[in-house]
Each structure stands twice: as C-alpha cells, then as structure tokens.
Symmetry: C2
Subunit: 218 residues, 2 copies
DNA sequence: TTTCATTAAAGAAAAATTCCTTTAATGATT
DNA sequence: AATCATTAAAGGAATTTTTCTTTAATGAAA
C-alpha cells in the first residue's frame, strides 16, 4: 500500500520507548568513565536481545565499531539529540495536585528537554504558591500566559472527569501536544498530539503476571 | 510450534494495557446510568478499531449482544475481576519523595486493588510522618514489617542510582513483584516480576511526533 | 603473523499484533 | 410481517515488531 505522509515516522514506537533507557544507561557509564559499550552489554542491562539494541540504534546516526561497541560519549549525544532532549520545550501543567506536584518537582523532566514554565489549578489553597520555583496560577490566567510564553505542550493532571475541559482549553490556546495522565481519553483535533500515560495499565500487567505465575521482565 | 509453559499467558500485553481504559470508560457510563455499550462506542472513545475492542473483550468472560452491545454493569464487573482489581494486594513503597508521595496520595491505586500498607525512606525529615494515613518508616525496619504484613509487591521510587539496592532488599524479604519507577533497570531472580514504568519514554514519543509533525493519538 | 572470538550490521524468518472481511444475529423501522 | 441497519464474533490478511542467521570486520591472544 502506498503511504504518503505516514512514511515520515519510520522509527517504531517500541524502539523510541526503549531509547530513554539506553540513554540513562549510557549516561551512567559516562559518569563512571567507561569509553565503549557493546550492544551485548546494553542488552544484558535491559534484559532484551542484543540484535534488538543494534537495530534500535541503527535508526540513529551512531555507528558501532566491530569488536568494541559504541562510544559512550557519542551514544549519549546521539540519543539525546535523537530523542529531542537537547532542545528545551516549554509546557504548562494543569492540576497541581499530588501527581502534578511530583512532576513539578521532577528535575528529570528538564534534563530530558521539558521545561514546565507554569502550573494551573482551581483550588485557591495552591494558587499563588510556588512549587519547585514554578508558580501556580488560576486556570483563568491560562490564556494570557500561553500567548506570552512559547508553550507547545500541556500536561493534564486533573481528576479524570475534568480532563476534557482542560484539553479543550489547551487546544483553544494553541498547544500542539498534550500529555494526559488521567485514565480518561480526551477528544482533540487531528493535528494535536496526545500521549496518554495510564499508570494503572502497568498495575494491570503486574497483576496479570502475578496471577499467572509468570516471570517476565520486559 | 508447541508451547508448554508459555501458553499460560495467552492474553496479549497490549490488550491488558487497554483494558483499564475500557474499565474507566465503563465505570463512567455506569455512573451516568447507561445500560449497554457497543464496541463501536468504546472504540470511538479510545480512538481505536472496533474489532480491536471485541477481540480484547473476547479474552474475558463477557459476551455481547448483537445490535445492543455489552451490558455496562457486567462489563465493569468482568473487567475488574479479570484485571485483578477486585482482590486487594498489599504493597510497600520505598522512597517517599515527590513521586512516592504522589502515589501514596493516589486513591486510584486502592480502587484498582493495590493497598500500600507502609512507606520507607532514609531521609529523617520524612520518617515517622504519615502521608495519606500511610506511615513512613526507616528503611531498616523493612524486614520486620514485611514479615508481619502480607506484602507481595514493592514499589521503587528512590533515585535511580539506589534502585538496585532497594530491589535486592525487596527480593531478600520475599516480595514477588516490583513496580519500578526509576529509569534504571534492576536485576532480580527470574521468578520475580518486574514492571518498569519509565515516564520519560512517553516524553520521547511526544517529542518524536512533534518533530515529525505527526498527528497520531494512540 | 596467524588464529580466534567478539562484535556491528544487514537481511530473512518468525512471532505478535492489528486491521479487515465475512457471517449470523436481532432490534428497530416500515 | 418483512426489511433494514447495527452489532458481536470469528477467521484470516496485513502489518509491525522481534528474533534468528549470516557476513564481515577487527582487537586480542597465541
Ligand atoms: N497521584 C498519582 O500518583 C496518580 C497516579 C496515576 C494517575 N493519576 C491520575 O492523575 C490525575 C490527578 O491525580 P492526583 O492524585 O494528582 O489528584 P489530586 O486531586 O491530588 O490533584 C488534582 C488537582 O487538579 C485540580 N483541578 C481540578 N479541576 C481542575 C480544573 N478544571 N482546572 C485546573 N485544575 C483543576 C485540583 O484542584 C487538584 O489540585 C487523576 O486523573 C489520577 O487518576 C494520579
Ligand atoms: N517526580 C516525578 O514526577 C518523577 C517522574 C518520573 C520518574 N521519576 C523517578 O522516580 C524516582 C524518584 O523521583 P522523585 O522525584 O520522587 O525523587 P525524590 O528525590 O523526590 O525522592 C526520592 C526519595 O527516595 C529516598 N531515598 C533515597 N535513597 C533511598 C534508599 N536507599 N532507601 C530508601 N529511600 C531512599 C530519598 O530520601 C527521597 O525521599 C527517580 O528515579 C525519578 O527518576 C520521578
């Protein structure tokens, strides 16, 4: 079948999912001063097949050296670049509750290219406060701020029943991607990217394995 | 090919991943008083193919009625049961920092069958406190408590560099499954179930789509 | 210098997953 | 009562992803 625009994204999603872990591993090796790392080593760390690693890495610019492996420093650079972690993207977070606060606290996000510039809520007890130096505004101020700052991503951490309302708001003010942490599935125009992160799916997988006495890592 | 022990887990992992969202949707309909729901409706909500829904649901006990769909009440019950959300499992959480606290606050977990009975940390400023009625102990008290309580799962929310230490501890005290929120990949015996939940993978997927001007939901 | 073992890379095969097609059932409409 | 349209279910095709196999390169060891 001829696919015109779909051919753009050739990198399999599972590959992209694994890459941040490759990166984290490589960064660790870099700190320890290791110069080269083989696909076998990475595969062993990840509990996957070595050819999976080479295939995944073949999507990036890096080339390995036979009998030696990949240069750790180059690997870190190439993966960071490839994953878009080197350019900072600005984001708004809506719902500065338990999960929202945790994300605001997470320095890992800024390390991986995401800069949360402001948070929003409706609860007067949190509005006006600063969480990890990020101010919490009332949701009504959303408009003014999104214009000023160059914000392309919205993070939704409100209760599930309010997810759609918040999503609509985000779309209205020109946000391009939404990271949705609620179990609710939101409806947005086709050109808006939505990434649903449902923690409970992971729970379901664990329970399934537990009840079937299985022993996989993945 | 003949598969002896591997045949036990016949349910595809992607199916299990989708099920909690079906459940959340069905629960919403139940609250609204809707009696039946068709695969088309569910698929529309999830932005997937309707046959995917029927195939997924075919792994459970529920049978749909032609021209009507699935009974919402039965669907909720069957999915909850199937996903193991009806039996409560006890868990320990180690690392009562930002993310750990968020999880301790999350009532969704107990709704989905996970009961965090105690938290552990090394930071004296949090030890002794209660987060959402769950007490934070010093990590050294881990042993005594895991014996007393019937704890089968360990949740790791410490900094990545301490993940392995904590995992070793959890294994030593008989925990059967580990839910690992750090980007580090931990090494455990084969019979221990590990579920890695790396939020940064989701970030990588968003960035990839953003940079390729794609427009998928998934 | 020669042999050996380890490795990346590429391509093929296998497996898993999704998507499509067909069939039969049945509530709603006429 | 007859027709129509919607739906679940089952099977198979297509696609995607993983795993296996082969090849060539090269550092280390003999
Ligand atoms: N806490 C967790 O660890 C966790 C885990 C998995 C999923 N989640 C999901 O994340 C979401 C949030 O969970 P939480 O535990 O942080 O809940 P929470 O109640 O602690 O926080 C929600 C926040 O959103 C705010 N809010 C509500 N409606 C709003 C609106 N329309 N606009 C702006 N702000 C609004 C509330 O004032 C509150 O501060 C839920 O959907 C939950 O299922 C949370
Ligand atoms: N905060 C987030 O939203 C977020 C998002 C994605 C991933 N993560 C990951 O989750 C992990 C924790 O992140 P965080 O933001 O909660 O960090 P944090 O620093 O807020 O919390 C870590 C906690 O672990 C405790 N700790 C450290 N070593 C310990 C040990 N050996 N035993 C027991 N407790 C110990 C610390 O005292 C601290 O309270 C990190 O690996 C991070 O990458 C966090």
């Amino acid at each position: 079948m001829v696919q015109s625009s779909k051919k753009i994204q050739v990198v399999p999603e599972p590959t992209i999912r694994r890459m941040p872990s490759y990166l984290a591993f490589a960064e660790g090796l870099l700190r320890k001063g290791q110069q080269f790392v083989s696909s076998t080593q990475i595969a062993n760390y990840m509990n996957i097949d070595p050819t999976q690693v080479t295939k995944d890495l073949s999507y990036t610019a890096i080339v390995g050296k036979t009998r030696v492996g990949y240069e750790v420093k180059a690997l870190v650079e190439v993966l960071s670049e490839f994953l878009g972690f080197t350019v900072m993207d600005n984001a708004f977070l809506v719902g500065a509750g338990s999960l929202g606060s945790a994300l605001l606290h997470d320095s890992g996000l800024s390390h991986f290219g995401l800069n949360i510039v402001a948070a929003f809520d409706v609860n007067s007890s949190t509005i006006g406060k600063k969480i990890n130096d990020i101010e919490v505004f009332h949701i009504d101020q959303f408009r003014d701020l999104s214009q000023e700052m160059n914000v392309i991503m919205g993070i939704i951490t409100v209760p599930a029943e309010n997810a759609q309302t918040v999503a609509d708001l985000m779309v209205a003010w020109g946000i391009k991607a939404i990271w949705n942490f609620t179990p609710a599935r939101i409806k947005v125009p086709d050109d808006i990217i939505v990434q649903n992160t449902t923690l409970y799916s992971n729970l379901a997988i664990i329970f399934n394995k537990l009840h079937n006495d299985r022993k996989e890592t993945r």
